[in-house]
């Protein structure tokens, strides 16, 4: 994934349960290994970064979790307040706004406001200059919500640009949107599994990202690849219709072989479909039979990404 190294903003999404958090973490480590200073942004979901990085539980504050890797699980309410304070430049005014009961319930239900608070915060981390003028992070990776909600989140800056009159909010949304649409700076990473439904969803998601939103899908990461045990003729033979009897030791092995052959066949078909319909570069990550439990596995996956 050579092109990955040059981008500053990565938006990781995909169907629920495909391993977005794992891939986000591995991507962060692979960038960090090339001396990039990386920030991972979680989107107010139950976080699993601390488990994967073997670090203390993660909150809203930016925390170092590995060498050159920082992480935050963005709290949208707090992100909004920080934004308000920065713009309004007065703590008193900002408190008056954000402590107002009506304003709070209004904010809570305003479409896309929390999504924008999180996405805007992540974007800000990618562009905010340090006192010396350089961005503190070379790359920001957003562990975005699953497919539909991930798309909703990326639609927000576009909607702001469409409906909000000129002002600070609109100005920032325009800047962010410009960066998101610049494929030299931003890439969408879609994580999927080598199965029928996840692949179909990936194709639809990729179409919406590129067609509707005009964003660049930089990579598709196929997670959970089963190492094939059987050749195509062997699979055909194992899948021939027959009654499987698992009462004997031999029967147990043949039944397991038949199930494996079926999974491998489905995987091959899913990969073929993905290859046929999607030209984005693909990366393949094996299934971990013992689970992805911590840094050892994440580091291994990181090596595959680079």
């Amino acid at each position: 994934m050579t092109t990955l190294l040059d981008r500053r903003f990565h938006f990781v999404t995909g169907k629920g349960g495909v391993g977005k958090t794992t891939i986000t973490s591995a991507l962060a480590l692979s960038l960090a290994a090339r001396d990039k200073r990386v920030l991972i942004c979680g989107c107010n979901a139950k976080e699993r970064f601390s488990a994967l990085f073997e670090a203390p539980p993660l909150g809203h504050d930016v925390t170092l979790v590995a060498e050159n890797v920082w992480a935050t699980n963005i709290d949208p309410g707090r992100a909004m307040e920080e934004y308000g304070q920065m713009i309004l430049k007065s703590r008193t005014v900002s408190r008056a706004v954000f402590d107002n009961r009506y304003v709070r319930s209004f904010f809570r239900a305003t479409p896309g406001l929390y999504e924008w608070a999180m996405l805007g915060k992540a974007w800000f981390h990618a562009v905010e200059p340090s006192p010396d003028g350089t961005p503190p992070f070379d790359a920001v990776i957003v562990d975005a919500p699953a497919t539909g909600h991930g798309l909703d989140m990326l639609r927000v800056p576009k909607v702001i640009v469409d409906v909000v009159p000129p002002g600070i909010l609109r100005r920032d949304a325009e800047r962010a949107w410009e960066m998101f649409r610049d494929e030299r700076q931003t890439g969408v990473v879609i994580v999927t599994l080598p199965e029928d439904m996840p692949v179909n969803e990936t194709l639809e998601l990729s179409e919406a990202m590129t067609g509707e939103l005009g964003l660049h899908v930089s990579n598709v990461v196929v997670n959970g690849m089963i190492p094939p045990l059987f050749s195509a003729p062997e699979r055909a033979s194992l899948l021939a219709p027959r009654a499987l009897d698992e009462r004997t030791r031999g029967g147990v092995a043949v039944a397991a072989g038949a199930r494996r052959a079926l999974r491998e066949t489905i995987q091959a078909e899913a990969l073929a479909k993905l290859g046929k319909h999607l030209s984005s570069p693909k990366v393949y990550v094996p299934l971990y039979f013992g689970g992805v439990n911590g840094l050892a596995e994440v580091r291994e996956i990181a090596r595959r990404l680079s």
Partner: protein, 378 residues
């Protein structure tokens, strides 16, 4: 364990859980099981799986109710005494219907439906999808055409959003907040500081600075229009929220053995408990099963020869490897599910728990759906 008693005793079953755990499949399989028990079943879904929908003969998914052709069941060799109807939820359309019902005049209705902000709000206001799902559920429940309604809830990042949706929508449209907002703006649309407390002026100026001047006026205008429906709407939302808490509603928490999905389901169970709502059942989808017995290369070789599988020389070793791999995945799931088992064990009113074994393929046709249905409600 079986969910059959639940299907027998309840009128509404809500399948909740995080994304990708198989809620749609669970709802569809429970629907099939109930239809096989002779019930008239409605499955309300947000996001139908296309292949499964196609296999049920539902080529074009629309928000119209579609009855699955009984011939399909017969073809699959299933005895279905009841009926299975599928309906896709359409958030915008449901919201439009609400506006049509509660607007005080055709002019008020057209003003809202034509408002630029409404176009965004009707599909993306926080909680809109969730709320409209429940709104539709409430409407079809009152119609009384079905014995059982299954709702495959929206794939919320956080399953709790679903429970909070009516409350959130109502608090956003809360009349006090609305009045405040409307009072702040005079009919001319300009700020009238005379009427305002000093803080309100500060607040509005602050927001105005963020959003640009005209936006708040635009919002105030929209809120004024919405206020027209508000009386009826608020009552309706409260009614919908109440109907969620009726005793004929069952909550089925759906999870996979993935640690994050389990975390989510435990959190959700806790929230249901706090709110005094039942946690009727937990469904764990795609649980890998351990091998029935140990195996070895010699036994595998003999069996492969007996079946004339024609594998390469080291084929039997790889058959054994396949079985070992299944064992590892089963062990991983067992380890991941231990916290769930422990947490459920501590509950006084222990929910039903059903584990659905992992199939090597997606549930994509009636035969595989019936297989899941057998596991859920045999």
């Amino acid at each position: 364990m079986s969910l059959a008693p639940l299907l027998e005793s309840r009128r509404v079953v809500l399948c909740v859980g995080s994304g990708g755990v198989g809620k749609t499949t669970t709802a569809a399989a429970l629907g099939l099981a109930a239809a096989m028990q002779g019930k008239r079943v409605l499955c309300l879904t947000i996001d139908p799986a296309k292949r499964l929908a196609n296999s049920l003969g539902l080529e074009a998914m629309t928000s119209e109710a579609q009855v699955v052709d009984p011939a399909r069941f017969a073809e699959a060799g299933l005895a279905v005494g009841g009926s299975l109807t599928v309906m896709m939820l359409d958030t915008k359309r449901t919201f439009d219907e609400l506006v049509r019902t509660y607007a005080s005049s055709p002019e008020a209705r057209d003003r809202i439906l034509g408002n630029k902000l409404y176009q965004y709000v009707s599909t993306s206001l926080a909680g809109t999808h969730e709320y409209m799902a429940m709104e539709k559920l409430h409407a079809v429940k009152r119609e009384g055409k079905y014995d059982l309604i299954l709702l495959d809830t929206p794939p919320t990042a956080n399953a709790l959003d679903f429970l909070d949706a009516p409350e959130r929508l109502v608090s956003a449209l809360d009349s006090a907040a609305m009045r405040w907002f409307i009072e702040v703006f005079q009919e001319s649309g300009s700020l009238s500081f005379n009427l305002l407390a000093k803080t309100a002026a500060v607040v509005l100026k602050g927001i105005g600075k963020l959003t640009g001047g005209g936006f708040l006026q635009q919002v105030a205008e929209f809120v004024t229009q919405l206020n027209d429906l508000f009386g009826g709407f608020k009552e309706r939302a409260a009614e919908v929220a109440r109907s969620l808490r009726a005793p004929d509603v069952a909550f089925v928490l759906v999870t996979s053995p993935a640690p994050m999905a389990i975390q989510e389901v435990l959190f959700f169970a806790e929230r249901l408990r706090e709110q005094g709502m039942p946690q009727d059942a937990v469904v764990v989808n795609r649980v890998n099963q351990p091998p029935r017995s140990p195996t070895d290369a010699l036994a595998a070789r003999e069996e492969a020869a007996r079946l004339a599988l024609g594998l390469d020389d080291d084929g039997p070793d790889r058959l054994v490897q396949a079985s070992h791999d299944e064992g590892k995945l089963a062990e991983l799931d067992r380890r991941n599910l231990a916290p769930l088992a422990a947490a459920l064990g501590e509950l006084s009113a222990r929910p039903l728990r059903v584990d659905v074994p992992a199939l090597p393929y997606d549930v994509h046709d009636l035969a595989s759906l019936a297989e899941v249905a057998r596991h859920l409600a045999s």
